[in-house]
Amino acid sequence: MKTAGPLLQGRNLLVKRGGIPVLDISDFTIMKGEVLSLIGPNGSGKSTLLLTLSSLLKLYRGKLIFNGSEIDSRRSELDYRRQIAVVFQDPLLFDTTVLENVASGLKIRGMEKKDRTRIAEECLERLGIAHLAKRSACKVSGGEAQRTSIARAFATSPTILFLDEPFSALDPPTREGIISDLSRLLRETETTAIMATHDQMEALRLSDRIAVIQQGKIAQMGSAEEVMNHPVNEFVAAFVGMDTLLTGSVLESQNGRIMIAVGNQKIEAVGNFPVGEQVLCCIRPENVTLSTDSPEEQSSARNNFSGRITRIAPHGLFYRVDLDCGFDLISYITRTSLDSLEFQEGQTVKASFKATAVHVIRKSA
């Protein structure tokens, strides 16, 4: 990752739809060479932000600054658009051959046919679809179409590549293949990229930084580690997969260790909060281990609770186990563990998690 100063800045961006603000961002900056993901649930405004940053959406107020100069006229807007590329969820290919599609951005820029064909062929090669060059773009599969769309974007060697939910319409194996190819291409070409996605795993795989969008605002922006493990509020915590969110108040605070009262129970965590402070304890289900309730077995974890299983439900490759420990606790266990431990709904088991597995946030009023 190179650091050469801000490449694109957005200031006081305000977008309205039907008179209602749908995007309100005071400051947004992306550095050269950086890959940033905008994550958030449907309707949070991540696509709106992406389209705004790519100058495709009319601003109600605010400005975009690219490479130090403001995009403020039709001319500068066109110049800017000729330095970026956008890949949408839908491949949006033209009704012509795959090769012509990939060359279309270059054709628009007035490049000679011979040159643009050469570049387009190179791009097809890099995305592993050179054999489709002469095929009609209407006849290729969904994955091939999206590869064509990505090749078309790379053909113009964009300074910034924008990706709007680029993999959402693809099946998992196809998605996997395209993500790894895109990831490689982004590193090789050192292209700055901004991707909107609702899938945090995609974001984690591709990006250096993540911005969580909540109701048209940036709730948190930081490294993947920061956002995933230190969410700033309840919304971000829930969105990044901290399924257990418990409200409590700080009972003791000493040497970076705190004891939090949650209902009638006490949870030990790490952090510096004054006694009496209302806080939110966020716990990832994969950090909660379950065992059969035998008192002689001692866990190294600081937090051990006995809880009744209220529900067991499949969750992807795992099973999600809901517990009532005096507070609601969620744990993910593998199918193998579930089979060997023979858990049943209604059974009482022991749940353990480390003090460091509890992320504590000051409870906002």
Binding site: V86, F88, S136, F162
Partner: protein, 232 residues
């Protein structure tokens, strides 16, 4: 039965021997309706695209007017074009009433809403984000229009078919503004009306066969292009 068979036989003779009167009428029909279709394509594709791509107050009313216009009765058009071109009408100074030019004007008025309506529908059928994609590729506004029209080229062929089909078979306006003057403003449909009225069924049948053949040929060619082009 004899009447029909004899009529058809005579009609075939007229066509095969390239009867000068029948040939003249056919060529004029083609020229007049072809020109009118071209004019309507020019205005119709432009206005259809503009209405499809823009949002303005009263747009719904405009769209419903266009859709109504697609079924404009030729006699009504004929009436108004006649009034406009009448000696002391607003466009009377042009002195084109009862000329082929007047027929072209009337037929253009009939075909333009048809082309506009179909263009509008074709443009609205394109994926809404396609415009953004084209702009993101660095296109100017004109380049975007060109690319969108290119993308909608197949449904636009339907506009050509419907426009031409509508005017070549239209009779009301042609007779009113053209006057059905022999060797001058007599087209296939107006001649058919007249010959039928006179009881000259053979000539009427000949003209009808030509009309049908023309309509079929043109649609056949356009359909071929359409079928070849759409691979999906």
């Amino acid at each position: 039965m004899d009447l029909i068979l004899e009529g058809i036989w005579k009609a075939i003779t007229l066509i095969v021997t390239l009867d000068p009167e029948v040939l003249g009428i056919t060529l004029l029909s083609l020229k007049v309706s072809g020109t009118a279709t071209l004019i309507s394509l020019f205005f119709g594709i432009f206005s259809g695209t503009v209405v499809a791509l823009t949002r303005f107050p009263g747009r719904k009313i405009v769209v419903s007017l266009i859709n109504t216009g697609m079924g404009l009765p030729p006699v009504v058009v004929g009436l108004f074009v006649t009034i406009f071109l009448w000696r002391n009408g607003p466009l009377g100074f042009l002195e084109i009433l009862y000329t082929p030019t007047a027929i072209i004007v009337a037929q253009s008025v009939i075909a333009t809403p048809i082309v506009t309506g179909i263009t509008l529908a074709a443009m609205q059928n394109l994926p809404p984000k396609l415009r953004l994609q084209i702009l993101a590729l660095g296109a100017t506004r004109m380049q975007m229009l060109g690319l969108l029209i290119r993308e909608a080229r197949l449904p636009l062929l339907a506009a050509v078919m419907a426009g031409f089909g509508g005017v070549i078979s239209e009779v009301g306006a042609s007779i009113m503004v053209g006057g059905n003057i022999m060797g001058y403003s007599r087209v296939l449909t107006t001649a058919t009306v007249m010959e039928t009225g006179r009881g000259n069924f053979d000539t009427a049948i000949a003209l009808s066969i030509i009309l049908l053949l023309l309509a079929y040929l043109i649609n056949y060619v356009l359909t071929r292009i359409q079928q070849r082009e759409r691979p999906r």
